[in-house]
């Protein structure tokens, strides 16, 4: 298996102005095809870290490489061809009078031919479930829908890497699931996905790997299963494992493993255990 590193940070340290560093000595590698969740309490530095992945912020010391290129001298608008970034607030980017034009904006910046743009816009709107709103004035949509317009505008660019900063904040449960299923589909289609979230259930359900940030440092980096089975570590950055994992951990003395991630998994385990001790017969 050839693991191809797309994003690499080496001893990345960053500070805003003269304030104390917000990120300290971050080293990490993200390979093609991964689906990584970045978690940590508010102010831990998640957004600041993510903004280094498309060159919006440059390290004060240390290096960040995207596709093997040092981001130091690269413009954001150039890196945009490799890394798409979905902002938390869609109103920072929407400025066209129709949803369709808004989604096409990034593609026009890449000087793609009209026909390709047309096709990609249609496809992206379909993916986010906004086909019917192609000609709608974006500000007549709900905030959740506008967020999906912003998402579509990044999806349409078909970048290798997609970074999503809290894509489900402010969405209801159904909308969150829609967005995350979409993220999953993107990942299955070969895109590398990095998402920031506060919802541990989403991490358990959708990510393979989690990077835990605490006060600007990496507290843990590894498989989601192994990270959630260490609640004492999560506590340090005021996180809790998903409820189902917490339940499994409290049932440890009944031989339930501490790294259960999904309700369905728990159900199967309990059923098997029940049959084993013969309480279903």
């Amino acid at each position: 298996m050839n693991r191809q590193v797309l994003i690499k940070a080496e001893n990345l340290t960053f500070k805003y102005g003269t304030e104390p560093p917000v990120l300290r000595n971050i080293s990490l590698e993200i390979a093609r095809g991964e689906c990584v969740a970045v978690i940590g309490q508010n102010g831990a530095g998640k957004t600041t870290l993510a903004k280094h992945f498309n060159g919006m912020l440059k390290p004060v010391s240390g290096k960040v490489y995207v596709g093997g290129r040092d981001t130091e001298r690269l413009k954001v608008s150039v890196l945009a061809r490799t890394v798409g970034y979905v902002f938390q607030n869609p109103d920072h980017q929407i400025f066209h009078d129709t949803v369709g034009k808004e989604v096409a904006f990034g593609l026009k910046n890449f000087d793609l031919p009209g026909k390709v743009i047309e096709e990609r816009v249609t496809a992206a709107l379909e993916t986010v479930g906004l086909t019917a709103h192609h000609a709608t004035y974006p500000f007549n949509l709900s905030k959740g829908q506008r967020q999906r317009v912003a998402l579509a505008s990044v999806l349409a660019m078909q970048t290798e890497v997609i970074v999503l900063d809290e894509p489900t904040t402010g969405q209801d449960y159904r909308e969150s699931m829609q967005i995350m299923n979409l993220v999953k589909k993107l990942n299955q289609n070969g895109h590398t996905v990095i998402f920031i979230t506060h919802d541990m259930a989403l991490v358990a359900e959708f990510a393979q790997r989690a990077i835990v940030l605490c006060n600007g440092e990496i507290l843990a980096d590894g498989g989601v299963r192994s990270i959630f089975s260490r609640p004492e570590l999560l506590k340090e950055t005021f996180l809790k494992p998903p409820q189902i994992t917490a339940l499994a951990q409290s049932l440890n003395r009944y031989a339930i493993p501490p790294d259960v991630l999904k309700v369905k998994e728990m159900y199967e385990l309990l059923k098997a255990r029940g049959e084993e001790i013969g309480c279903f017969s």
């Binding site: 102005g17 919006m56 608008s77 970034y85 902002f87 920072h92 990034g106 910046n109 660019m157």
Partner: protein
């Protein structure tokens, strides 16, 4: 930038002065600064402003601004030094052909202009950082008879400069992340390329203004007569200081008329 116009809470003699006294002080500093153009006078004035900042204990917080201003001051100084070509020539920038003379007077007048610029800006910053916002509003309304709505509007606008600057950055980042780049040589194209940044900014600002208006109304804000809980009376120190300032300004105007402090 964020600390530029924000009140910094301290318990200093300067903070305890009446807002009106501090407004007078800032205006008089402006007056002194414009009266004289001798670099010694202006440097002394700058030192006095820094002294006031130090006794208000805001010097530390203003340091980033001061270092920013110093850069501007240097540019001003250089421009003045290069383009002022009367008086005693010190040396030529292009030596062989005796072009671009740098004169003693040029250097001194550059120094004076730089000091003047810093003094005037800093005195207003010290005033803003050492005076509670409510007190400024009250003084504007009670002493200067400005309608409350306008005073309030002015201060809200001031208050929103830092968050607006922050938004400019966010919006331009968001558009660059979609491959947008500002620039080009063609001026029309350049102007057009600002649209993706300015339109969201305008929309955000309108939206924010509407929200603030609504939030204020739901909390009972309305125009009309107001009474104030806080007292804006001047104390003895305030009267003494104001009198001293007036005296000082009058005597400097006389001195200036007699030919002191000009080069």
């Amino acid at each position: 930038m964020a600390a530029l116009v924000e009140y910094i809470h301290e318990d200093s003699p300067v903070h305890r002065l009446n807002a009106l006294t501090k407004i007078f002080w800032a205006l008089f500093t402006l007056g002194f600064g414009l009266l004289f153009n001798d670099y010694r006078y202006l440097l002394a004035l700058l030192a006095s402003v820094l002294l006031v900042a130090a006794s208000a204990r805001v010097l530390q917080s203003l340091l980033p601004v001061i270092s920013g201003l110093t850069v501007f001051a240097m540019i001003l100084f250089l421009i003045q030094a290069l383009f002022y070509n009367q008086g005693q020539v010190l040396f030529y920038l292009i030596p062989g052909v005796d072009r671009v003379p740098v004169t003693v007077q040029g250097l001194l007048s550059g120094l004076a202009m730089a000091a003047r610029m810093m003094t005037i800006i800093l005195s207003f910053l010290v005033f803003l950082t050492a005076t509670r916002t409510q007190d400024i509003v009250l003084t504007l309304v009670e002493k200067f008879k400005i309608p409350y709505d306008y005073a309030f509007m002015f201060l809200t606008a001031l208050r929103f400069i830092p968050s607006f600057l922050n938004e400019v950055k966010m919006v331009s980042d968001a558009q660059q992340a979609r491959g947008h780049s500002i620039g080009g040589i063609n001026p029309f194209k350049k102007i057009k390329s600002y649209a993706p940044v300015t339109i969201p900014l305008v929309l955000l600002s309108i939206n924010k203004a509407e929200n603030i208006a609504m939030a204020m109304e739901t909390r009972g804000y309305c125009g009309g007569n107001r009474t104030c809980l806080r007292d804006t009376r001047m104390g003895r120190t305030d009267y003494l200081l104001t009198a001293a300032l007036i005296l000082l300004l009058a005597s400097s105007a006389t001195a200036r008329a007699a030919g002191y402090g000009v080069m």
